[in-house]
């Protein structure tokens, strides 16, 4: 009699196994896909940054914040800017930071209060890692990523 019980139970459990394994597969695909997409989006953004500005002075609430620099950026205090610094002393179109031919230029706009290493900047000026730039009251330290290169191989000294 018990062999019949086994036969029937085993026969009935086919549906269970199909269901569970199907769910497992579905979840695996969906979760991995969503993680992949998210990751790609963020890393894609990160990949585009050529460097960052780290806020070192001027307003306590944004102190220490790092803002990525892309190839062409509008610095300003409105949401539509590329580098958003939300401070009243920062103009809507305060300055531009562009990279041309490997050189990163800071371009003050419309008579804004922009300084490089303490000195007021009125014309486009190149900036480097370690420089301190200020927009209005806000001071930030500059970091520019070195150009990418492939990892060397062990036997290519």
């Amino acid at each position: 009699m018990s062999s019949e019980i086994y036969q029937t139970v085993a026969f009935g459990m086919r549906y269970w196994f199909i269901l569970i394994i199907g769910l497992m597969l579905l979840t695996l695909i969906l979760v991995s896909r969503s993680e992949y997409r998210e990751r790609k989006a963020v890393m894609g953004e990160v990949g585009q940054y050529i460097g960052y500005l780290e806020i070192i002075g001027g307003a306590d609430d944004v102190l220490g914040e790092r803002i990525g620099i892309m190839k062409e950026n509008l610095v300003g205090n409105s949401r539509s800017a590329d580098i958003v610094i939300a401070d009243p002393s920062v103009h809507k179109n305060h300055a531009m930071i562009n990279r041309k031919k490997g050189r990163v230029m800071l371009i003050p706009l419309n008579g804004s209060d922009t300084k490089i290493n303490g000195r007021k900047a009125t014309h486009p000026h190149e900036i480097f890692t370690g420089d301190t730039v200020s927009f209005g009251e806000i001071e930030a330290s500059v970091y520019i990523k070195p150009q990418e290169e492939e990892e060397p191989h062990d036997d290519q000294a």
């Binding site: 086994y6 569970i20 979840t27």
Partner: protein, 416 residues
Amino acid sequence: MTIKRKGATSILFLQLLFILPAFGLLSLRDGKFDIMTLVAGGVLVFYNLFQYNMMKVSFKHIDRFVLLAAQFLWSLGLVVLYRLDPELALKQFVCLLIGTLAMIVMMVLIRRSRDFGRLNWVFMGLTLLLLASTLVLGRTTGGAKNWIDLGFISVQPSEFAKILFIVVSAYFLTTRDKLVSFIPYMFFTAVCVMLLVVEKDLGAALLISGTFLIMFYAATGRTWLTLLGVGILGGGAFASYKLFSHVRTRVEVWQDPWSVYQDGGYQIVQGLMALASGGLLGVGLGRGMPEVIPVRSSDYIFAVIGEEFGIIIGIFVIIFYLVFIVRGILIALDARSTYDALLVFGCTAMLSLQSFIIIGGVIKLIPLTGITMPFVSYGGSSILASMIQLGIIEGVAVKNGKADEAALEMMGGEMR
């Protein structure tokens, strides 16, 4: 910016819902309830959970989905093996434990080194030695001379030679540019394949030549040369068809196994009947007749799965392999050095070729070749080799993750 790596708790839970009922069912098979079977199921569940969490904690950036896909595959394998013979399942589980160790070792190795440089020449020699060893010390099973008996265990050196081949290939294909410098490497490949053909291990020969062609194409992009290589492979296959009677038999059997039922068609016919018997839903775990299927625990395990679990789950298994492969390729695409990328790509390509060839052979899409289903089939060397390849893939995934994390943190983001 944060990247929140998604948890897979639900998948682990579903795994539990698969393994425990399966073993629970098996425990009722002999009439009275066998507690040991249920314990075995519990051990497997515990092991999977333990391994998953341990890996997640020790290596923050492993690709969890590849690991989960592999876990499902070996769990299914263990369920089927236990149904066939609990002893097989036990041996397989032990090999799995050893395999996990090998996987971790591999991951650490990958983490710490770039490529192996001059060591690759040593690897080449080692590969040839491994492949040649069966010529001398080997025992012949099922027409192929690819096993060596070492007392209480037997090993298949070709499984490990395959991995060394991938390592060596990755090195040569990334450090050389001009075709001329490839010549020693190509010569090496040809010798490997020929050794395998002489030993009649056509499955491994096919795998090495196939992986070589795929890696060659990916690394150099020389489509015409690759196609030439495919042509040479085809020519070689054709020549072996003309020269070797056992190849001719294989092809005959593939075309119409019923007409040569007594001389070799038996295995394929029984496999097809098992699949037909299962139909879409299967006949139920423990209700099929796998005893009539030859090599049912290793090469032909897919037929057993097809009979008892049905074609639907058979298709799910194929899709699990596909997920594994796609994730592997994504890791390769994300790798920071072409050497790492090619290494992962080679392992992924080989695993995908392997699963395609054996499943294709069982369902009579292509002529049958004697190789195992990665992670599912019984076989210490097979599991070990698959785990090592998994280790390589995860190792590079960890490297990728670390580089991603560093870049992200530099920008003020974090990875949780």
